[in-house]
């Protein structure tokens, strides 16, 4: 079974800051991580491979430094890694990104065998669009199964897959023909800690680096900024909350302090006072 997992190197959003003057995201010095949703996709893929045999290929598009995230994916146990990097890809929106990744997946298929499943995270934590996975599926004419919580069964003989999709109001149990594209939900499968042998292998491995030409991408007008219809008109940081904490004077008796606190609360939130009075009346 050949599985392709698309990952993205993203800034660790827990450590990101917005520049107070320019309102732009300060990426400098912010550590990068593998998009957390992609790790659930990777773990699901690794489990399928461990169970059914085959290989897991991780793919990313990004700057040369994105190689770090691929090597990390190999430390977890991925068999090979492909980095799609080219200045033509700079400034890609989700349309251009899915175009380039779809081409790269075709090329991966030609090189190492057609994938049975293409995995991605449900979305990235920097763009939050959840568009790239479906975009790839459409371009490769694969069934797209989004927001998947669990893979229930894969039948390689019948070429089918059964999965559980979290939807409003419950869980859908779906079946699809292979090949297909699956985007995984958070919490679906915690990433493993790679074995020592995997860590060594990852440290020694050559990451396959493809330019646009290497990946067989001829139509450069569909790549990067030129292939991206999205326009960012304005970026702004929401105004910080103006409410300030108010000190409460500590009185000699604890009860008096508590009363002062409650009075101050009710003064600030009259609705809360009314609601509580209503509740008390009900009792």
């Amino acid at each position: 079974m050949h599985i392709v997992v698309c990952i993205k190197q993203v800034p660790d959003s827990a450590q990101i800051r917005v520049h107070p003057v320019t309102n732009t995201i300060m990426r400098q010095g912010v550590p990068t991580i593998i998009n957390p949703y992609d790790l659930f996709a990777l773990e699901t893929a690794l489990r399928l491979r461990d169970e059914l045999g085959g290989a897991v290929t991780v793919l990313t598009m990004g700057p040369p430094s994105a190689e770090d995230s691929l090597r990390k994916a190999m430390t977890y146990g991925a068999d090979r890694a492909v980095l799609l990097t080219d200045r033509f890809f700079a400034g890609s929106d989700t349309l251009a990104t899915s175009f380039a990744l779809a081409q790269a997946i075709r090329k991966i298929g030609e090189t190492w065998g057609a994938p049975d499943v293409v995995f991605a995270g449900k979305q990235t934590i920097d763009g939050d669009t959840a568009q790239v996975g479906p975009g790839i599926a459409r371009r490769l004419e694969l069934n797209q199964l989004t927001y998947i919580a669990k893979i229930a069964k894969v039948d390689l003989v019948a070429r089918t897959i059964e999965l559980e999709r979290r939807a409003e109001g419950g869980t859908q149990v779906l079946s699809s023909a292979l090949p297909c594209l699956v985007t995984m939900l958070e919490g679906s499968a915690e990433i493993r800690r790679g074995a020592f042998a995997d860590a060594l292998r990852a440290a020694r491995a050559e990451v396959t680096v493809w330019s646009a030409a290497d990946a067989g991408i001829a139509d450069l007008l569909k790549c990067g900024l030129r292939g991206s219809p999205t326009v960012v008109k304005r970026v702004f940081a929401p105004a910080p909350r103006a409410e300030k904490a108010k000190p409460i004077e500590v009185k000699p008796k604890a009860r008096e302090t508590a009363d002062a606190l409650i009075d101050a609360l009710f003064e600030a939130k009259p609705a809360m006072s009314a609601e509580l009075e209503q509740l008390a009346a009900g009792l």
């Binding site: 430390t75 074995a195 020592f196 860590a199 440290a203």
Partner: protein, 434 residues
């Protein structure tokens, strides 16, 4: 199958990176293990980096290493509660083509150093913790066990560069864990300020930087020191004292740091800054007398793990880098002569270290840590206060005849410490310094 390398380096701090780089450059197969997410993610230092010792390892480091500011001014401050008496040394001679000292930010610097290690050919495994050393039936160290599945790996020699706590070495009984009276606990904050503010506040331009080291009342009578280092866009502000002193004085490290930052001489320097990082670290301060056994059959120990730190001159990373390099060179000697990695053959490392500035400097001040420790109240509280009072009296003009002022100052010293105490302290300091 268990893999075997020429050499395993445990830890990717200054000493580990220096050892791994030197070994890999010389063509040995090197595996370096680091428990953090990347080299530098767990490493804490003030931090001042001394160029000569890095130059001995990577001569052209200035081309791409992330350096903050080269230091052109050193301020030593003796602090009383509301004053400081200072000695400043500033020289344009430090604006040289190859400056001698730089401030660095370890998380960035170590990443760079680690990249150099990888480029030199070593295999660096991060997020991999070495749990224990493996010994054969003859007591020869033959490898380590890590926390990853199937994580046993062998080597001819293991370089222990695991840092001040040195769990691996103490677990294996190669040395004692550090004692409270020989390690300092330092805390540090990174205060961010615009570059222009730092430059005007510290009277520097471009990449020039300033170091302030402050002793006295800021450590509440304990053996310790506070510091302010200028980086490009932030100040490293910290303070450290011996662990045993905290316990005795009932002080907390962050409590001391808060007091230090509130001192009228320090506060204006930090005005308007934004604190983005808080870190803490143990520093080995026992000096020469705490240095453990440095080598054995199949292993050597370097850097903080070997307690190689000059507390008197506040140097550590340079001793770490140098010990890593010297250990690597000794290992290379053994390897090229096709000898076994026995204790006798690895003795080249401690021998070379003894001949280097590392052990010479530590030996010079071997009595200093104990002296400052036993006499800490006098050296860190009494004298700074007396000196501050003397200076105030000297500077303030209020119509008191000079003769009277000077007599009063001398009387204050004699009254507080007694003539015997004064002479004794001076004698002890002079002897320990010699």
């Amino acid at each position: 199958m268990v893999e075997k390398f020429d050499c395993i380096v445990v830890g990717a701090g200054m000493s580990g990176n220096a050892a791994a780089y030197t070994l890999a450059k010389k063509g040995l197969s090197v595996l370096q293990l680091e428990r953090g997410e990347y080299s530098g993610s767990k490493n804490v230092q003030g931090a001042i980096m001394y160029a000569d010792m890095l130059e001995a390892i990577i001569p052209d480091f200035r081309e791409d290493a992330p350096l903050e500011r080269h230091l052109i001014e050193q301020r030593f401050w003796m602090m009383s509660d509301n004053a400081h008496t200072g000695v400043h040394y500033r020289s344009d001679a430090f604006n040289e083509a190859r400056p001698n000292r730089y401030t660095i930010i370890r998380s960035q610097f170590d990443k760079w150093f680690s990249r150099k290690v990888k480029e030199a050919g070593a295999i660096v495994l991060t997020e991999t913790t070495a749990l224990e050393l493996i010994f054969d039936a003859y007591g020869v160290c033959i490898g380590v066990r890590t926390d990853r599945e199937g994580g046993i790996v062998h080597a001819d020699v293991v370089v222990l560069a695991e840092g001040v706590n040195g769990l691996l070495g103490s677990r294996a009984g190669l040395r004692q864990p550090p004692k409270p009276e020989t390690v300092a606990l330092a805390v540090k904050e990174m205060h961010f300020l615009p570059q222009e503010t730092i430059e005007s506040r510290f009277n520097v331009k471009g990449d020039e930087g300033v170091v302030i080291e402050a002793a006295g009342a800021v450590s509440q009578g304990m053996t310790g020191m506070g510091f302010v280092y200028t980086n490009k866009e932030c100040l490293s502000v910290g303070i450290g004292c011996l662990v045993s002193d905290y316990a005795k004085a009932g002080e907390t490290p962050y409590g001391l740091l808060e007091k230090f930052k509130a001192h009228p001489s320090i506060k204006p320097l930090l005005e308007g800054s934004e604190v983005k990082e808080y870190s803490a670290h143990l520093i080995p301060e026992g000096g020469y007398k705490s240095v453990p056994q440095l080598h054995g059959d199949g292993w050597v120990v370097v850097g903080d793990a070997a307690q190689l730190n000059n507390a008197v001159h506040r140097e550590g990373s340079n001793l770490a880098m140098t010990s890593g390099r010297i250990a690597a060179e000794a290992i290379f000697q053994v390897k090229t002569r096709k000898e076994k990695f026995t204790k006798a053959n690895l003795k080249r490392y401690p021998d070379a270290l003894e001949a280097s500035f590392v052990m010479k400097d530590l030996r010079k001040h071997k009595d200093m840590p104990a002296l400052l420790h036993t006499n800490s109240r006098n050296f860190f509280l009494t004298y700074p206060e007396l000196i501050a009072k003397a200076m105030e009296s000297f500077v303030r003009v209020d119509g008191t005849p000079k003769q009277e002022k000077e007599s009063a100052t001398i009387a204050a010293f004699r009254k507080t410490r007694g003539l015997g105490g004064l002479v004794g302290d001076a004698w002890k300091i002079a002897r320990a310094w010699r």
